[in-house]
Amino acid sequence: MLSKKIEENIFKALMITATLIVLLSSVFIIITILIKGLPAMNLDMITKTPKGGYYLGKSGGILNAIVGSLILTGGATLVSIFFSLPVALYANVYADKSSKIVAFSRVSLDVLWGVPSIVYGAFGFTIMLFFGLKASLLGGIITVALLIFPIMSRAMDEVIRMVPQELLNSSYALGATKFETALKVVVRQSLPGILSAVLIAFGRGIGDAASVIFTAGFSDRIPFSLFEPAATLPLAVFFQLGTPFPEVQERAYASALILTIIVFLVSIGSRILIRRYSKHVIK
């Protein structure tokens, strides 16, 4: 009788320890980035592009990478919406509930979700070789769009699936076509959820380095055309950290902090949207 109580307590202690380790490790990461990043932060970091000798410790900032990342990921997110929304709408509005194609596409998306970003990078690179593109903003946009496509589609699928069938039926009963229903009822009803899916995908895209390392290249200038190489924040962190100069490494920490802040803002934004969304869902 007693031994079973003891066993219970031992395992409960183990579980609480494990949970604490998991939770504290995330706090630990954030604190590390804050402690190292904050002292190295200054206005120049976010308002200037690298000047000559920046990577040797001379003045400048990483505006090129901030703008590059935002344009690249923004572009990729836009491209991805045009593929993801139709997939999610087809699965939930057009197709039969028992459609084999939809079931198969969901499995494919799950599989694509697990494909490492470096493989997308390599695949994007082969596409660019095929079309004779050099490492450029366009190459990066295509690759990141492919990378976040499964994430966005699955997230949209989840929210659109929540729209009650009765709502669709009432729209059909009024004589609306499926397309009109999809656009004016389904999309409108799930808009905050869809936007949140877009933000989740954006957050994932902006933090990824392995997919853009071959495809977007790196440049100290802000890109002005799709065919110029573009700098990205994760790579800026990586390259600055790779230099032997402590001043430049400090800037890598500041860049890491900037990246973390952007990712968190995006994640908080999507959370707020989800909360608002679940409030207004018609059940």
């Binding site: 939770l23 706090v27 197709a95 494909v115 470096i118 493989v119 071959f214 962190v237 990586f238 959370r271």
Partner: protein
Amino acid sequence: MQHKRLVKDKLVRSIMWLSTIFCILLVILIGLALYQKSRSILAMKSLTDLLFSSSWHPLKGEFGFFPFIMGTLWVTCTAVVISVPLSFFTAIYLSEYAPKAVREWAKPVIDLLAGIPSVIYGVWGILVIVPLTKDYIAPFFGKHSAGYSVFAAGIVLAVMIFPVIIHVSIEVFRSVSFELREASWALGATKWQTIKHVVVRKALPGIIAANVLGFTRAFGETMAVLMVAGNVARVPASILDPAYPLPALIANNYGEMLSIPLYDSALLMAALILFVVVLSFSILSRFALVRVERGSE
């Protein structure tokens, strides 16, 4: 007018159908494109030679992937060994024991962990785990290590895959019906006995699938590993040795790969290996998860 609306509907239907087909085609397309590029090296060398030779000298035309494959396995297995028990107990605690308030606090924190970019994990690894390995862990075992090692990469990856395993495991535990637990409690079993003999047994395929998903995530992770694993092209002899996993190999050599013959083909073949392994594992784990969900209905 009526006609126009119907035509529009038909048109949109086919566009959406095409996008759906695109999802399926993309998987095949990635595989084919990488295979197409790997063909030139596969034509020159036998597959066993490529996979099991340790000699990596691109300039001499020797491409043995063995040290990199072993590097990947060492790093990934270390991560899984560390992460699996911790994630398992955390998932059980959060789904079975934790009060509602704890659960509601823990969830966003774990989601936060999932959202941190891999390069940030890499920075954290360099700042914390690498010095820790070098100054405390290696001397503790009476060994010398530069810190950039299988162990450091394993720790960083373990933390990275916590959210993946925990998230899926919690879903799996939730899918075990509550009546089963009640029946076990009614027989006088404690909470832990119920978990051990009823919940875990029922959820086992799902838990394995969750861990396989974590494994595939660790297997293909690039940036964080590239930053802390040390990148020495030798099969690691111990956990404190440096390793050079496949994804790091690809990312590190993008610069010179077009200037050396067959090099690009070799690197894209490395990507193909990653793709095939991840593809097989994720299909297997998805099937297991679907079976668990069916079983719970």
